[in-house]
């Protein structure tokens, strides 16, 4: 059985007289022990909201969460709040995108790290401080005992992200949710952080749910990839399969839009036209249809279902998928 099973998760904002907006519209995926699962998509696709819903960090009012999410055999959405608080930060932990605004600016790093140790592992005083120093050392922060006394603004961006990771792994969680962990960082620092995350997964068997917009990051770290568009998964496959045979026109378009460092120069990019604002409701048809080059009449007759038109385990939500690789192979590997 999977560590985390998410089934038809929906998140709706608004309601009570205000216009409803469905940020996540039926997302299902599974995360196994030691596996890295990616949620990829552009802004507004619902990837961050998914992670907040799983962690239970969405506000109580004005948000409706539907569907089911089972973690280690317990249903996250029906368990009582205090049990969920025990879970959050210990068994499942999260790394946020912006390390500066996720750390408390007026509290030293050490206090923020030991807080978790005190809450979940019952450590106190010197023992907690020692463990905190060890955690910082573990994630590659030099001179941890000094850093413990410092405030977030005294650390560089990469160091802050490391501190956040240290806090997330403080209780050896079985599931780590990383929401754009490297977006705010420079590429050389990004490479360091990604290596660190890989190492954590390899050595601790931590399951990692990686949320990112960067297909390059996905290609490097994820085992299983889910591509989201407008709140629904449009394609889901193992990373090799996905990158070798992008089958949904959106995935295909995304890969065509990215300038590759190793591609021959002079080829112009093939962008996806329009923007995420040009979409139809999933209930009426494919949300991507207005931007799609392969649009046909069938696209707007009801929600397209996930199918496996190419290979087993490679799910695609499209009535007119890209099945010939000719186009995909214009960019040599």
């Amino acid at each position: 059985m999977s560590l985390l099973t998410v089934d038809e998760l929906t998140v709706t904002f608004g309601g009570r007289g205000r216009k409803e907006s469905r940020a996540v519209d039926g997302v299902s995926f599974e995360v196994d022990q030691g596996q890295v699962v990616g949620l990829v998509g552009e802004s507004g696709c619902g990837k961050s909201v998914t992670s907040l819903a799983l962690m239970g960090l969405l506000p109580d009012k004005g948000v409706t969460v539907g569907g089911r999410a089972e973690f280690d055999g317990t249903d996250l959405f029906t368990m009582n709040p205090s049990a969920r608080r025990d879970l959050r930060g210990s068994k499942m932990a999260m790394i946020f995108q912006d390390p500066l605004s996720s750390l408390n600016p007026v509290v030293p790093i050490g206090v923020q790290v030991t807080e978790i140790l005190e809450r979940h592992r019952g450590m106190k005083g010197e023992a907690a401080r020692k463990e905190a120093a060890h955690l910082l050392d573990r994630v590659g922060i030099p001179d941890p005992t000094r850093r413990l006394k410092e405030y977030p603004h005294q650390l560089s961006g990469g160091m802050r992200q490391r501190a956040l990771i240290a806090m997330a792994v403080a209780c050896a969680p079985s599931l780590l949710i990383a929401d754009e962990p490297t977006t705010a960082l420079d590429v050389t620092i990004q490479a360091q952080i990604l290596e660190l995350l890989k190492e954590l997964v390899d050595q601790e068997g931590t399951a990692l749910l990686m949320i990112t917009h960067d297909l390059g990051v996905v290609a490097g770290i994820c085992d299983q990839v889910n591509v989201l568009y407008a709140g629904k998964a449009v394609e889901s496959a193992g990373r090799r399969e996905l990158f070798a045979h992008p089958t949904h026109p959106y995935t295909h378009g995304l890969l065509g839009s990215i300038p590759r460092l190793d591609a021959p120069r002079g080829e112009s990019l093939k962008p996806i036209r329009g923007s995420i604002n040009d979409r139809v409701a999933w209930a009426d048809g494919c949300a991507f249809a207005p931007r799609c080059d392969r649009y046909e009449m069938g696209c707007l007759t009801g929600t397209p279902q996930l199918a496996e038109p190419r290979a087993a385990g490679h799910q695609v939500r499209c009535v007119n998928p890209v099945l010939d690789d000719a186009k995909a192979e214009e960019v040599p590997a």
């Binding site: 961006g157 590429v187 050389t188 490479a191 300038p259 962008p271």
Partner: protein
């Protein structure tokens, strides 16, 4: 002659202290001697990580910051010496597209007002009708609906706002457009639209671009020549194909290897050069080669004492490294770890986990830190960099070595900033 020539440009920001006398206690060496040439009709790409001074350099070309030293010559005129009013008039020929499309557009001005402001300032168009016609033509060119004129920035999406920014530069018919991170705030599908637009415009209007970006893949895609900046100076410059095919400077190599490629086959095969630590402070740059504190190939001689010049190695390829040839031939091996051990040096603790405490994986528990042996490769760095006078990181390390936690400084000063 090149259209735009920068020669030894330096931009130093004073650090002030004190209430009454405003003493200058030091400088931030944001740009510290950059020379480059941009040919007419070409695109020059400037890459580097945050804090390397690329944005400041771009702004200094427009004199939005004061140039401390050096010259910026556009078409035979040295902009650094122009009086302010003449410089203002000169800016018609030099325009800028900013990074944050929303932040650089006044939310209370409509698009017509935003776009005509520059035209009024430079006396383009006899009256508003004439200007409006021109604006309409440009808006159409950049792919915005003509009803955009009466609308406000918040009504547009990110990609459209960036188009407005480009239109604002274009209405003045500039020779050179400086694009500061033109696509970094946009989603990838939109990014490609804007990149293509910039390329089309260049082809049609014969524009010259100075593109400043941190994304190496984007820069390589649109540039003819690329300059790589590190801590205020250029470390390497080459035609973009050459730079990708054979990066010579260790920093460029590391940067290239860190850029993720959306292809698992490539990702699995390639070798990463991971750098230790973060960028040193530009207020207190390392002596000698700016990169020697993080360079995997740093040598005991020269690197810490002598600042390398940009030297031509043939084919318009310029490199600022003392050991270019030796590194290329493989004669010099990296003196520092470049793999995962560069990121975390607690392998010993991981391989030999501490005993006891069952419910938590041992690797996350405090290995007795006082007995933790340092990796030998790491030990070497400490003396090398501690020689650096005035390096605050080095000082800090020295202090810590006196203190009770000598092993904590094992990572070397490169990582402490």
């Amino acid at each position: 002659m090149s259209l735009l020539e920068l020669d030894g440009v330096k931009v130093h920001f004073p650090i002030k202290k004190g209430v009454l006398f405003d003493r200058t206690v030091g400088h931030v060496y944001a740009v510290d001697g950059v020379s480059l040439k941009v040919e007419a009709g070409e695109t020059y790409g400037l890459v580097g990580e945050s804090g390397c001074g690329k944005t400041t350099l771009g702004r200094s070309v427009l004199r939005l910051v004061d140039i401390t030293e050096g010259s910026v010559v556009l078409d035979g005129t040295d902009l650094a010496k122009l009086p302010n009013e003449e410089m203002r008039r000169f800016r018609r020929r030099l325009q800028m597209v900013f990074q944050d499309p929303l932040g650089s557009l006044n939310p209370r001005q409509n698009i017509e007002s935003i776009l005509s402001e520059g035209m009024v300032a430079h006396g383009i168009g006899k009256n508003q009708e004439e200007r409006r016609e021109k604006i309409k033509a440009i808006l159409e060119r950049v792919g915005l609906p003509s009803n955009a004129l009466a609308r406000y920035p918040h009504e547009f999406s990110g990609g459209q706002r960036q188009r407005i920014g480009i239109a604002r530069a274009l209405v003045l018919e500039p020779d050179v457009i400086i694009c500061d991170e033109p696509v970094s705030a946009l989603d990838v599908s939109i990014q490609a639209q804007v990149v293509n637009l910039l390329e089309e415009l260049q082809e049609e209007l014969g524009l010259t671009y100075l593109v400043i970006a941190h994304d190496l893949a984007v820069v390589r895609h649109i540039s003819d020549v690329i300059g790589v900046m590190y801590l205020g100076s250029l470390v390497e410059e080459a035609p973009s194909d050459t730079l990708y095919a054979e990066p010579k400077h260790p920093y460029t190599k590391a940067l290239m290897s860190a850029v993720p490629v959306p292809d698992p086959e490539v990702e699995d095969r390639r070798e990463r050069i991971l750098l230790t630590g973060d960028l040193p402070s530009p207020a207190n740059p390392p002596t000698g080669c700016r990169f020697h504190t993080r360079c995997p190939w740093a040598q005991a001689e020269k690197c810490a004492t002598e600042r390398p010049e940009l030297k031509d190695v043939g084919g318009g390829h310029r490199v600022a490294c003392h050991y270019t040839a030796e590194i290329a031939s493989g004669e010099l091996a990296p003196t520092r770890p470049t793999g995962i051990e560069a990121v975390t040096e607690t392998e010993d603790a991981l391989v030999k986990p501490a005993e006891g405490e069952a419910e938590v994986p041992a690797a996350l528990l405090p290995a007795d830190s006082t007995t933790k042996p340092d990796a030998p490769a790491v030990k070497e760095k400490v003396p090398a960099a501690a020689e650096t006078p005035g390096d605050p990181a080095a000082d800090a390390v020295a202090k810590d070595q006196d203190a009770a936690t000598p092993e904590a400084s094992g990572k070397g000063p490169a990582g402490t900033d």
